[in-house]
């Protein structure tokens, strides 16, 4: 072929875009490698994750109550719990409003007596019609949510005597009218 013709055809190479699809199996892709046609495979039965000991340790021990833990718990609660349990923990969330069975009130006597471990277990494994959230809420976040549920419960049952003097004065000040 004449060199000038090759030069003329060079720009046509810009039309080749083979590298935008590469022969590799990315997550969520289909793959002919496996029988079920998916690139992502579940671990074989009996497999132990490398971080399993750390996971179990985080699950076994309740972390100390700190403002950071509560803040994390509030954030996670709003993502995963609020749709059903509502911002206040009353159970009047938007999903029950659409027909889902209503969850119990976190401020009920039974749940105020329940241990943090109970909440952590329910988040991880589900309870009744509530599915397990263990795959989306890791152990640390389960404890954080449990801590935030405690804060929600306190917010509805705080004795007036525990308030700081200024807040107490405001509470007891005669209201308008």
């Amino acid at each position: 072929m004449r060199p000038w013709l090759v030069l003329l055809l060079l720009p046509a190479l810009a039309g080749c875009d083979e590298m935008s699809r590469q022969p590799r199996d990315d997550v969520y892709r289909a793959s002919p490698l496996f029988a079920d046609g998916a690139a992502m495979q579940a671990p074989p039965p009996g497999a132990v994750a490398r971080d399993a000991p750390a996971w179990d340790a985080a699950l076994a021990e309740r972390p100390p109550m700190t403002p950071a833990l509560l803040a994390r718990g509030r954030e996670r609660y709003r993502i995963f719990c609020q749709p059903c349990h509502d911002a206040s923990g009353s159970g009047h969330g938007i999903i029950p409003a659409r027909g889902f069975p209503q969850p119990p009130d976190f401020n009920s006597e039974r749940l105020r007596q329940a241990s943090s471990q109970t909440f952590v277990d329910v988040i991880g494994h589900g309870h009744g019609v509530m599915f397990a959230y263990g795959d989306r809420v890791p152990p640390g976040d389960r404890w954080a949510i449990a801590a935030y549920i405690r804060a929600l419960q306190l917010s509805q049952h705080a004795p007036a005597a525990d308030l700081a003097a200024g807040d107490r004065a405001r509470l007891e000040a005669p209201h308008g009218r």
Binding site: D17, M19, S20, R21, Q22, R24, D26, V27, Y28, A30, D36, A38, E75, R78, I79, F80, P83, I94, I95, R98, G99, F100, P101, V129, F131, D135, R136
Partner: protein
Amino acid sequence: MPQIFKPSADTWLRTFAAVAALGLIAAALFGAGVARSDWVTRAGWPVEQPVPFSHKHHVGDLGLDCRYCHSDVEEGRYAGLPSSHVCITCHSQLWTGAEVLEPVRASFAENRPIAWKRVAALPEYVYFDHHIHVARGVPCVECHGRIDEMPLTWRAKPLQMRFCIDCHRDPAPRLRPVNQVTRMDWTGWASDPANRGFGERAMRRFHIQPAKLTDCNVCHR
């Protein structure tokens, strides 16, 4: 020797040359226009899915946080497509007889993934990582648009290299508070005096250096 060309030949030649030149320019402009068009970038074109999932209903009407379903977005490269387990969390009780949800129930029952079609796909020579963008406060809406207003899901932005580079050259106006990263409606936020200079402060706090953000190997590894 007789005349080969008529007197009009010169005019014909010049006309042909002019038309050919204009045609070349027009073809180049047309090609460039097509490459930037929505038809090629697929921006704004709803993608047909096995189930007509509505982000408008789930995010806009019900107020679910993006991370309820896309729960890997803070940790990994991929935001994560929810497993059918996540769908059935609610749909074991709601819309249990709905025909449009049959593929979801079948997927859950048979432990077989739903073949969702990719909407916001990048070329595979690009290494995009959701985690770092979310951790620095680039809100979801910046690239994915008002997903809470999409009854079917489409690609909101062209997602071509220029789109990425525009922001990597000048990230400050796009940065938002990290704890509100999934918020969709930012109307009035930037003009609020309380938020003046937020982007610049975030740049300093996170040591974001635009000069390095445009290095080739930031995205191409």
